[in-house]
């Protein structure tokens, strides 16, 4: 990615972070593994989701962590609905 994208966390209650592909990748991998997806398939899905999300981010200099999670879940749903469900639920389980 050529430009830096700010991620506003928890409606500004926590410091803003710069978007990193690695963090998104790790979160998608964690969601896939938690629903017993094989490691190889997990990596492929995470790469595809990261590419799709970065594509979506191209015209957005600033996004909220909630938006990022929603879009990532939507892209993940195409590849693995169960993992997308857990990914979406993460902040609304407790």
């Amino acid at each position: 990615m050529s430009q830096l994208i700010d991620v506003v966390k928890r409606q500004g209650k926590r410091p803003t972070e710069t978007f990193t592909r690695e963090k998104l990748h790790a979160s998608v991998v964690a969601a896939c593994l938690s629903v017993k997806t094989p490691a190889g398939q997990t990596e492929k899905i995470a790469e595809a989701v990261c590419d799709a999300v970065i594509d979506w981010l191209q015209i957005r200099p600033e996004v909220t962590s909630g938006d990022l999670r929603r879009i990532a879940a939507r892209k993940l749903h195409i590849h693995h609905p169960d993992a997308a469900y857990i990914y979406e639920q993460h902040r609304i389980i407790i």
């Binding site: 938690s34 993460h90 609304i92 407790i94």
Partner: protein
């Protein structure tokens, strides 16, 4: 009140305690983080077991503590007013649970302060060793105190009336019954069930769980009021 009916009240109170969902939510989240962090199955089982043990021990300690306070304050038989307060607490909390237990949004988010929910969520993510997991189990029971205080208090009132050995039996029953859902979820996770299936079941049945918990509180509150407060006041029917 006979020993059998006392144990029945404690068992029903423990079932109501068991129907509250905060500890189960934290356990689900903890399992998700542990599996997602590529921990071995043995380590996931160890972490989740420590959590369940922590929650169980805290429930027993809380009950024993409240029973001790009741015993020291009122002796073996609390005044009718205290029983009436306990019954009122059960009924009032039951109505509150019917109305407010789950947030009206997707997922299984509960009506606990968001700062507490975020704290538990962050601690769950940071949990790496069994001792932290045990402490998280303890914390999750304390965070749920607002909901479980009524069944704990009523059980304590019933327990102090029992002979010494039966008090231990009643506390044991409460401890075991109150962690039954946690043990069930732990067994499902340990045997390789998908977290998504467990969470989907919880989400689709949350209204029923809320109704059952609220109804249980109201029914037990009314039952105890009639059998203990009214019967003693009127000298039997």
């Amino acid at each position: 009140m006979t020993i059998l009916s006392s144990l029945a009240i404690v068992t029903l109170a423990a079932l109501i305690h068991a129907s509250f969902q905060l500890s189960i939510s934290v356990l689900t989240l903890l399992s998700g983080h542990a599996i997602g962090a590529k921990h071995s199955t043995a380590r996931v089982v160890k972490l989740t077991s420590s959590f369940v043990i922590g929650a169980g021990i805290m429930a027993v300690l809380l009950l024993a503590f409240i029973a001790l306070v009741v015993q020291q304050t009122f002796g073996g038989d609390a005044p009718q007013l205290v029983w009436a307060v306990a019954c009122g607490l059960m009924i009032g909390l039951g109505v509150a649970v019917w109305m407010f237990y789950y947030r009206r949004e997707k997922g299984t988010a509960l009506w606990i302060p968001r700062s507490v929910a975020h704290y538990l969520s962050d601690r769950t993510k940071a949990t790496k060793v069994s001792a932290e997991s045990f402490a998280l189990g303890v914390m999750s029971v304390i965070a749920e105190l607002l909901f479980i205080i009524a069944p704990l208090f009523l059980s304590a009132l019933v327990i102090v009336q029992l002979p010494g050995t039966w008090q231990l039996v009643a506390i044991g029953i409460y401890g075991i019954v109150s962690i039954l859902p946690l043990v069930s979820v732990w067994a499902l996770i340990s045997s390789g069930h998908k977290l998504s299936d467990i969470q989907k079941w919880r989400e689709s049945n949350k209204s029923f769980l809320q109704f059952a918990a609220g109804s249980g509180l109201i029914i037990l509150g009314l039952f105890t009021y009639v059998t203990k407060v009214l019967t003693d006041t009127l000298g039997g029917f």
